[in-house]
């Protein structure tokens, strides 16, 4: 009898602690995970938490300055919509960054200048290095 009481107590404490940890961290440390088209629809809503957006790097409006560590580019929705979004980023430019690749940008959308200010730019790569072999 005494044992099962202990077990239940331990279980309850455990669930509470994990739950508490989870919710506090979740509240403060989560961001929206979006496609370009979704950001364009309602940027203000998502700015509250910040967001992470996936897109394909377009050849237009691309400017790189290694010395100033400045990168400006445009990304296109990868889920089929025609929406595009301008992104600026200050920081070390990833080696694998180039036109045509998929990137994940994290940051906030500046609704006045219609530009996404990225705090980080992640290029999707290593094992995803499967190009189609074409006959030349």
């Amino acid at each position: 009898m005494k044992k099962s009481y202990k077990f239940i107590l331990a279980g309850v404490v455990f669930v509470c602690v994990v739950g508490y940890l989870f919710f506090t961290s979740f509240r403060s440390e989560s961001v929206y995970y979006l496609e370009v088209s979704e950001v364009k629809q309602n940027p203000e809503k998502y700015n509250a938490k910040g967001m992470r957006v996936t897109g394909e790097v377009m050849p237009e409006d691309l400017s790189k300055d290694f010395k100033k560590q400045y990168l400006a580019f445009t990304i296109k929705d990868i889920k089929g919509s025609e929406d595009t979004m301008n992104v600026v980023y200050n920081g070390i430019i990833p080696d694998t960054f180039k036109v045509g690749i998929h990137v994940i940008v994290e940051g906030k959308y500046d609704t006045e200048n219609h530009i996404f200010k990225a705090a980080s730019v992640l290029t999707k790569c290593p094992s995803k290095y499967e190009a189609d072999v074409e006959q030349k």
């Binding site: 995970y33 094992s127 290095y129 499967e130 006959q135």
Partner: protein, 639 residues
Amino acid sequence: MGQLGNLFQILGLFAGFAAFGMYAYAVATQSKENAKLADWFMLGQTAAASLASCVLVYALATGYFKMEYVAQYTDLKLPFVYKISGWWAGQAGSLLFWGWLVTVFAAIEIFRTKNYDTKYRSAVLATSALTSTFFLILTIFVTNPFHELDFFPPDGLGMNPLLQNPGMLYHPPTLFLGYVGFTITVGHALAALMSRDTSAAWAADTRKWTMITWVFLTIGIVLGGEWAYVELGWGGYWAWDPVENASLLPWLTSTALLHSAFMYERKGRLKIWTHMLALLSFELCLFGTYITRSGVLDSVHTFSKSPLGYFFLFFIVLTTAIFVRYLMPMMQNLADKDDVKFNFFSRDGLFFLSNWLFLGLTIVILVGTMMPVLSGMVMSDKITVGIPYYNKVSAPFFMLLLLAGGLAPLMSFGGTENRNELIRKLMPSTIAMVLAMVYLAATGKGHPLPMVLTGFTTFSLVTIITRIVSSVKAGGVSVLTSNRRFFGGMIVHIGVVMVAYGVIASSFYNLQKDVVVAPGEQFEFAGYDLKVGDISFRQMQNYVSAYAPVSVYKGDKKVLTLAPERRFYEKNEEAFAEVAINSKLTGDLYLILSSYSKTENYVGIQAVYQPFITWIWIGCVVMVLGGLYGISGRTKRDA
């Protein structure tokens, strides 16, 4: 050549079906003859999968670009070792590699369990046959490495430069060995359930398998971190990326499994836990593959989207259902006897508690990883969590695990010793803990979280030492070799403590600086003066390197020269940074050539100082050696 490889695959598939069917039949009828026939089919599958793998490796080594896979991952100029590593560099090849490993492990089990009960061993081997056949189905029908193009390209596309690192030779194979090994453990767990055997025989029998698997998983994970550290050039080794998490999850559950199985064997306790942890470790290995190969999550590692994920999901559900089907009727028999006195302040209690901690940690990391998918199900917007989430939620778990790992060796089973005795034994550790924290506070490193973590780590270290010293005092040095299981465990814990120090120091006390200077200028960083030289170039086998020699001065004395590079590979337009690292036990000086221009005459350097990071790698080696020591020789009862 592709047809030949595929033919072997198909032969392997049929042999696998036959082996599985025969084993299943042998489980039902206990027929020795059937089991023997099944053994032959299983060995046939091993042979077929081995031959298929030989064909693939041969094609990779000789540059047979007509096979699409070979053309995708290699080219003529690729150094030979990396051509071979193409076997596991891509989707299709790595699945063949995985399936092949399962067949090899099964073949080992066929001989090792020769004299075991027919029903039991047939169930073990049926599990392996099912798994290996599943992988062959994937490599034949979903993503076939032997697929041939209708033309012969003159050259391949080459391997991603980031994969051209010695890490590529060791990291994937060790990780896969870690993933595959649980097939055997879970097979035994299932076999015991099917035989309605509640004894600890299966746990004792798989101890070495599980430990070796765990060792490979540990090496695989740490090598992955080390690789990211030296190759990816952002100065870190762990980013809580879905793929990294996917490898950590089975590590956490299998660490719990090792502890649980110990309790099962010695005390007849935590039986259901042990079964469930064996299942979870197996399924989480597959689950990791599901999330990385299905495209459900965005990760820097993910493979291209394919229906592969659904096959994995199906297989996970199927195998879990089978296992649970046999576990349910045995629950009553496996449950802990209620009359056994249970005390949280005993070694048993801490083992039990640590199971919960490992499971809790697994859950919060799993939920975090799957957050985009889970939130998409219940909300209109997808939500994701980043590095701060993981750091925040995992820290308390790690803290308590360190504490439990520190307390347990000084406690007895059942917690029968008197409290004063225990307090006396814990005095040195408590003093050391306080001293470590005071030291950090006094040297201006008084951030609460790393301070508490360091305190607990130190506590853990000193209890382990106290325990070893008192054992040696009581029983002489010979106890260290006679009770290898216990002291092997202690060595693993020392390794964990080293890793913990490395992680705490490098996460909380690292330094970072970005500079752009003209060649010849110098800047101050982490107590050093760094003088940046002019850019030079050199031609290597398949790339051109641009490097900046940086002279490192301590005071007026030049201590060394580091040369961070950017490499231009022939098949890639963009340059890849190659970092320069000077490792010392007290910390690493890590330099990245972030940018340069000959015409504008500047060099951009990112400098990182990672204190104590080497201890992560050393700790890993110690953990591995401890694990191997624990299973070496004959096992004796714990003192």
